[in-house]
Symmetry: C2
DNA sequence: TTGAAAGCGCTAACAA
DNA sequence: TTGTTAGCGCTTTCAA
């Protein structure tokens, strides 16, 4: 059997001609990794001692023995087999996070916040995205649990019914980004009702608008959707009938399509409330394409408030989700399940920028 | 031993005040998971048989025995301990992916593509982000390897020197999103030089611009940065001296700051080439804030072409990175390291939209 | 202060 | 067709 010629692609490195070297090693086939036994042998100690020095406990080791072990570790480039330790300990210093779509900036930022918070406690987090697929979500959760994840945080796409039908999870599990608690799970989310209320109230109160449309996605959560509730309540507080509601996908195109439709109505609303930053992104495009100006022709507001929202033009007025706080709360709940509240609902922050009609803040850091 | 009462948490329909109920079970403390031995006992067979059934091999099992086993699995809600299997097999059907910043849409889309491609081969991918921290990246890679990841894909923030100084990785490792091969690693990236060339040539050729500024980040890669090379070469092809180069962070604020500076120059360039979508996002804001119009006052083009770029206004002309192809190539390389080319450089796609001055495509799907 | 050894859950070679 | 069992790399109790 001849080894297939290792075609090095013409790496158009401007200066040097493409390397046509004698088979640059592409990816080293795994040389067997050193084990704790190898290190012990090399250092002339028992495997227990190696453990003690690697883990700095639970027994003391004579300084010079420890030094010998460390030298051996160095020499053999030893690194512990995490799977073995996880098996032995039944835990892995690792937490699992499952989100529907990592490509949605909100979830990416949430994941980032969770990672940071976990790192502070010495935990790594394994991130998996379910693509909003119910079966994949289930598989991912089971897999993570089987890897001895010490806890699971999941932004579920399951309905409450499907969720309660599930066998009790093996690991502390918290539902993240949900607006209502579910039996058997700790849950953390943002106060979407209040956030929506604040936003719409700002439009109605400060700007004196009277017609605001809501663009919202289909949620798997218990209805009525909290953002919709907040929307309705804000109108009620002003003695106004609630504005029209358009249901569409929680995506850029969802927002785009919905807003195009809305702008074609006989009576164009004063403002549109997008239920996510993603939808808002589509909304901007639809507004511009229609030759309209925001906020003069239509004001735009949105729920989420990812870092992108400060950079749209005009800058987007949002109810910012408390991403860091949610991450922290979820972590807390997962690390101390016994004392975890059934449901934590964290306040959003109203960030007024220019898309609602207010004067623009000086810079995108605002 | 009493079974802990399964307190169903108060389904907090926002109408009621916060729950102060008697300690609703937040997250069920792990009831010991059923093991293969439990299943065997329950089904009255040996553990081997359970293995055979669960793994559909390597030995045949009598249909009715198998049925009994499956029933037991069901009854005990058994799911295999992945860590144990990984330990035993030295492999885990899991691939590791390390990126600098999952909050950057480009990496999120890359991660998504990798996940999808991996799923087609029955692999899960564990995603970790390094926050562009060199030490964390190292730690993450070691950890993933210790978890018996079957392969690693890393978008490294290490310099080539630091990289070659590393001990040979234990697992097939491919560098993703790099423009040059490194000794000892398979690598895949996009042809950034060509992509940049196409973009700038479009400005120079089609639009007849003569002054284009480049905004680029500090790269850890071997210099000269390929995008910069393509930029320079395009000018050379038109017999023009290369435009000015501004170095800044690969971030929205980086782009914002750089463009603000550029717009304050005595001689404002006809166009600005942003080296990433993130920077472009900042650029838009800077242009608008300066009261300028794109593309009339300044044209904007960028490298990356994430899904967001179709939704800016005006829609952004980009060299789109071949995210899916890179993911596929990386996967291929990791699964078949022996035949992996040292470096694959995949072509970008020039996507002409309106920010360069061309007429707008009809819809964001274009 | 160090070593020997049991056992975490799983797979598969070997035996029955 | 099914059962028995060694051993993957690790931690830790117990003994020396």
């Amino acid at each position: 059997m001849s080894v297939p010629a290792r075609a090095t692609s013409p790496s158009g490195s401007g200066s040097r001609p493409a390397a046509r070297q004698p088979a640059p090693r592409a990816a080293p086939p795994a040389a067997r990794a050193a084990t704790r036994a190898d290190v012990a042998r090399h250092a002339g100690v028992s495997t227990a001692v190696v453990s003690y020095v690697v883990n700095e406990g639970p027994r003391r080791v004579a300084p010079e023995t420890a030094a010998r072990v460390r030298a051996a570790v160095e020499a053999l480039d030893y690194s512990p087999n995490v799977a073995a330790r996880a098996l032995r300990m039944g835990s892995s210093e690792m937490l699992g996070l499952v989100v529907p779509d990592i490509t949605n900036l909100f979830f990416a930022e949430l994941a980032h916040a969770v990672e940071s918070a976990a790192a502070e406690h010495g935990f790594l987090v394994t991130l998996a995205s379910s693509g909003s697929d119910v079966d994949l979500e289930r598989e991912l959760v089971a897999d993570l649990a089987g890897r001895n994840a010490d806890g699971l945080m999941v932004s579920t796409v399951l309905t409450p019914e499907a969720l309660t039908a599930l066998p009790a999870p093996r690991r502390p599990t918290v539902l993240i980004n949900v607006s209502a608690p579910f039996a058997g799970y700790a849950a953390v989310g943002s106060d979407a009702r209040q956030g929506a209320y604040d936003l719409v109230e700002h439009l109605l109160g400060t700007h004196g608008h009277t017609s605001v449309a809501l663009v919202i996605g289909e949620s798997t959560e218990r209805l009525p959707e909290p953002r919709e509730r907040g929307f309705v309540e804000a109108f009620a507080a002003h003695g106004l009938p609630p504005g029209p509601v358009v249901r569409t996908a929680f995506s850029r195109t969802g927002g785009y399509d919905a807003v195009r439709r809305i702008l074609a109505w006989r009576h164009r609303p004063d403002a549109i409330f997008l239920s996510s930053d993603q939808q808002a992104s589509g909304a901007y495009r639809a507004v511009r394409e229609a030759g309209l100006e925001c906020p003069d022709d239509v004001a735009l507001i949105a729920y989420d408030g990812t870092s992108q929202s400060a950079f749209s033009w005009p800058p987007l007025t949002v109810a910012r989700q408390p991403v860091e706080a949610m991450a922290r709360a979820a972590l807390q709940a997962v690390l101390d399940p016994v004392n975890a509240p059934a449901h934590q609902q964290l306040p959003t922050e109203l960030v007024v920028r220019r898309s609602c009609g207010c004067p623009s803040p000086p810079s995108p850091t605002a």
